[in-house]
Amino acid sequence: MAIGEFRLRIGYSKCGRARFLSHLEVMRALERSARRAQLAYAVTKGFSPHMKVAFGPALPVGTAGDREYFDIWLTAYSPASDVMSDLIAATPADLAPTAAQYVGGKEPSLSAAIAVAEYRVEMDQSEVDEEQFRTALDAVVASGELTVEQKKKTKVYDLTKSLSKEPSVKVDEGKVIVEMAVRMGPDGAMRPDALIRTALQRAHIAGATVLVTRTDVFIEEGDVLRRPL
């Protein structure tokens, strides 16, 4: 971090209709928010200068996020709460910032440091029989492997490594809800919806709407998990 720069970490949610945005679209939207809020953002040096900002791991199109993060480098210090309220006023409601705090220059980057993500997957009870689904999911998890076909490539995940917490299934207000924790790695992470869809297929359940939300992400320090903020 250059001298005279202040690294502010912002927490935000990607909810409502914004769940349909791609990671690139979210990044661009939030960078534009920072400009609209007239933050004193730092600019990279070089041939094609741009705002100095860094985002956490990508969320796919269709997946919501309750606690997402980005870092922005400022050239002047303002109280984090002031920056946050300026940002909120300049951001579409479905991407609104929820927290802001300065972090040290040596803090590892979000994309490298985030090691575990928790997810909640919701399906409608009218479309998914809970017992049938639970049995199928247990069987997939017990097999220890998940094979995913993506863009004509086959990828095999070792579930004992990919899942840091085994999925739990519950029923609440007409929804079948699955919660799980997934390990993030340098080669990308298993997508929870891939696991759910494999289980649905095994249970012969077709046409169910699957809503995925990343509820939390964690940085790993030794044996301890902590939130980025």
């Binding site: 914004a18 945005l21 661009r28 920072a34 705002m51 269709g62 579409p92």
Partner: protein, 622 residues
Amino acid sequence: MTHKDLWPSIEPLLAGVERPARYIDREWGAAHSVDADYRAVLIYPDTYEIGMANQGLAILYERLNSTKDVAAERAYVPWEDMSSAMRSVGVPLFSLESCAPVSSFDLVGITLPYELTYSNVLEVLDLADIPLRACDRGDGDPLVLGGGPCAYNPEPVAPFFDAILIGEGEEGLIDVVAAHRKARDAGSSRSEMLRALAQVHGVYVPSLYTPVYSDDGALVSVESSGGAPDKVSKRVVQDLSAHPVPTCPVVPFMDVVHDRATVEILRGCTRGCRFCQAGMVYRPVRERPADMIIHDVMENLACTGYEEVSLTSLSTTDHSQIEEILRRLRRRLEGSAISVSLPSLRVDRFGVSMARLASSGKKSGLTFAPEAGTQRLRDAINKNVNEEELLATVEQAFQSGWRRVKLYFMIGLPTETDEDVRGIGEMVTRVFAVARAAVPPDQRGAIRVGISVSTLVPKAHTPYQWEPQISLEEVRRRQSVLRESMPRKGVDLSWHDSDVSFLEATMARGGRQLSDVIENAWRSGARFDAWTENYDLAVWRRAFDEAGIVPESIANQPFSFDDVLPWGHISCGASETYLIRERQRTDTGQLTEDCSFGGCTGCDVCDDLGVDVKLGGTRGHR
């Protein structure tokens, strides 16, 4: 009228379609006026990411939403995955802001940006459950209004529209809304309402005009009825300053084309290129003053958060204060990493210095349009550019650090010979040599010269409106002549697809009988014809066959000066006398100067429409 919110039916479809960001609304700047008395939906007949770039609709959206008791929303054509999902569950075309059925609005405004969107106009109407033809619509249907560049020959699509606004919409659309609202509130019948609209200056109501044909099928006259004027003249705004650019437009989430702030700094261009429809129909030249431009740019950037602003017009570096504007913006934007961009430049060294002033570092590429390969032909089309200046311009661009230039050329221009066509290749060879000489040897590998060649589509209201397009066989022959004349290395040559230009020419020059062809083609699945992968001339050929029309008889046949033209009852202000004189000067290679630099050239627009050229300063010859 109650407005149904279709979102609950739309949301479940989005998991299964590409780029759902096209359909979700909620962008920064989107206007949500819940209880307006009069509601309009403005539609661009292509996808969201193409339509969001349209400045005309952005202006009209802002104008309507700032009119008391009026609300405007947006709609675009859903991509095929989405439209089939919608049809399978019975969801009609919806507006983005309130997710209401398009058919529930008072006004459905569809812009006509290019001929290849005509099949999509029908897709819009069908998906919206609105009868395709105006004659089948009843009192419960919305007013379907057209407008935009292709309205200057509205005939091929005329039967699909209740009314078409010719010319600029800043004032015209407000007048249409007022007249329609008055008729609606008075409980007028649809035909009474349309007759009232025909009284609004600039409004063409196709059902009140009947083309009359002779026994051999030639157009003899177009008869007006119901008190409609014989000739509909375009609307034109006298003073652009009275209509500020929208400074808080909708900022898309999606990566749309031209994803940046745009500030229109002047309108109209009177350079007088004889093939150019924009140069004829957007007259006269009207500049916005520098102070206003600076203010609007800064306000737009503050409101949108864009990282780039484009100063748009047909010929941006012609603005009499362009240098001052760029210097002031550079000062204001220093350290912000916000860049200023200019659209394609005139071929002159001044253009390159202005691009240098704008770019401050990043030099992506420069685009110039010499249009023709020999001086004789450039003079014939009144493209006031000489090769010496082009080479000097290219040299300056490469010396200033640019490594990529793109040059636009046309083939099929009147009086063109093979020598002219080969002249393009010879000129490109010299351009490439100049570029190499201007760049240090170790950087020569980075030199890129892009050549884009299109075929002339003779357009209504230009001096070439009587000209045929050259035949498809001739296009291919001239393309091969050109290919052989091109340098072998370092040049990226691309063509505008001749099959596409052929349909464009047919639609640009044809009359009302083409509406059957468009409907046939749409029924056979023509959609998104501007998308190369979707366009199929065979589908269109079958559509012509079914309608008993030979497209070559429209695209490739000349009109005589005495013929009644299909668009003859529409006027952009430029007189036929002027257009004929300009056409004749093509044969003699006589140049006509630009009236915004020199004296009046007698196009008659100002007299006819009661307007005048308006400049912020003095334009000097450079």
